[in-house]
Symmetry: C2
Subunit: 156 residues, 2 copies
C-alpha cells in the first residue's frame, strides 16, 4: 500500500473534531454550576479550567493554520458555565468557517503554533483534538465521582 494513501480528508477531520466538540459541550453541560470550576480529584484542575485551556487553543490554532499568523493564546475565557458554553458555540462556528479556508497543502507545512510549538500543521491540529479527548476523559471520572452519568462516548 502506498504510504501516502489518504487516511482522512480535510472535511472528514473537521467533522470528526466537531463531533468531539459536540460531545465535550454535553460534558460541560452535565456539570452542576457549582462543581464545574471547583470539583477535582487527585489535585488536578477542575474541568472548567481544562475546558478553558481547550478554548484558548482551539479556534486560535485554526486561525493560525488558515493564515500563518499567530495571535497567541487567548487568555480571556468565561468562568461561568453559561459563559463557557456560549463561547464554545461561537468558537464552533469560527472553527467551521476558518477551517474551510485553510489552503491545500498547508497541513503538510511546518509551523510554530503561537510562535512556540513546532510541528506540521496537521500535527498541531491533531494535538488539539487529542488533548480535548484526553481532558474530557478525565471529566468523565469527575462526573462519575459526583454521581452523574456522563453522556455516551460514542454519541457525537
Amino acid at each position: 500500500m502506498p504510504e501516502r494513501a489518504r487516511f482522512t480528508s480535510s472535511a472528514q477531520a473537521l467533522e470528526h473534531w466537531q463531533g468531539h466538540r459536540r460531545l465535550t459541550r454535553r460534558v460541560i453541560e452535565a456539570f452542576p454550576d457549582e462543581h464545574l470550576f471547583s470539583f477535582s480529584l487527585g489535585g488536578m484542575r477542575p474541568f472548567g479550567e481544562m475546558a478553558a485551556e481547550l478554548v484558548r487553543m482551539a479556534a486560535p490554532l485554526v486561525e493560525g493554520a488558515a493564515t500563518g499568523e499567530w495571535q497567541g493564546y487567548e487568555s480571556e475565557v468565561p468562568t461561568t458555565k453559561a459563559g463557557l458554553l456560549a463561547r464554545w458555540d461561537d468558537d464552533t462556528q469560527r472553527i467551521d468557517e476558518r477551517w474551510r479556508t485553510i489552503p491545500e497543502g498547508r497541513f503538510a507545512e511546518e509551523d510554530a503554533a503561537f510562535g512556540v510549538y513546532r510541528d506540521r500543521v496537521q500535527g498541531l491540529l491533531q494535538y488539539a483534538i487529542d488533548n480535548e479527548i484526553h481532558h474530557r476523559g478525565q471529566a468523565y471520572v469527575y462526573l462519575r465521582a459526583l454521581g452523574i452519568e456522563p453522556p455516551p462516548f460514542y454519541e457525537r
Copy 2:
C-alpha cells in the same frame, strides 16, 4: 480548499497511533501491580480492565481492516501487569505489520467491525484510537489520586 484534500496519510495515521500506544504503555507501567486491576474511582472499571478492552479491540480491528474478515473480539487478555505489557508489545508489532497491508481505498469502504459496528474503515480505526486516548485520560486521574505522577501527555 478542496474538501477531499488530504489531512492525514496512512503512514502518518499509523505513526500517530503507535505514538499513543507508546504513551499508553508507559501509563500501564506506571501503575503499581496491586492497583492496576483493582483501583478505581466513581464506580468505574480499574484501568487494567479498560486496557484489556483496548487490547480486545486494537489488533483484531487492524486484521479486519486488512482482510475484511472479522474474528470477533479476542477475549483472552492477561490479567497481570507483566502479561498485559507483553501482550501490548506483541500487538504493537502485529498492528505495524498488518496496517501496512491494508489495501489502498480500503479506508473509505464501509464495513461492520466484528459483524456489529458499521462505519467506514477509517472511522472504525479512528474510534479505537480515540477510545484509547479517552480511557488513558481516565487513568491519569487514577494515577494522580494514587499520588503517582503520570508520564507527560505530549511525549510519544
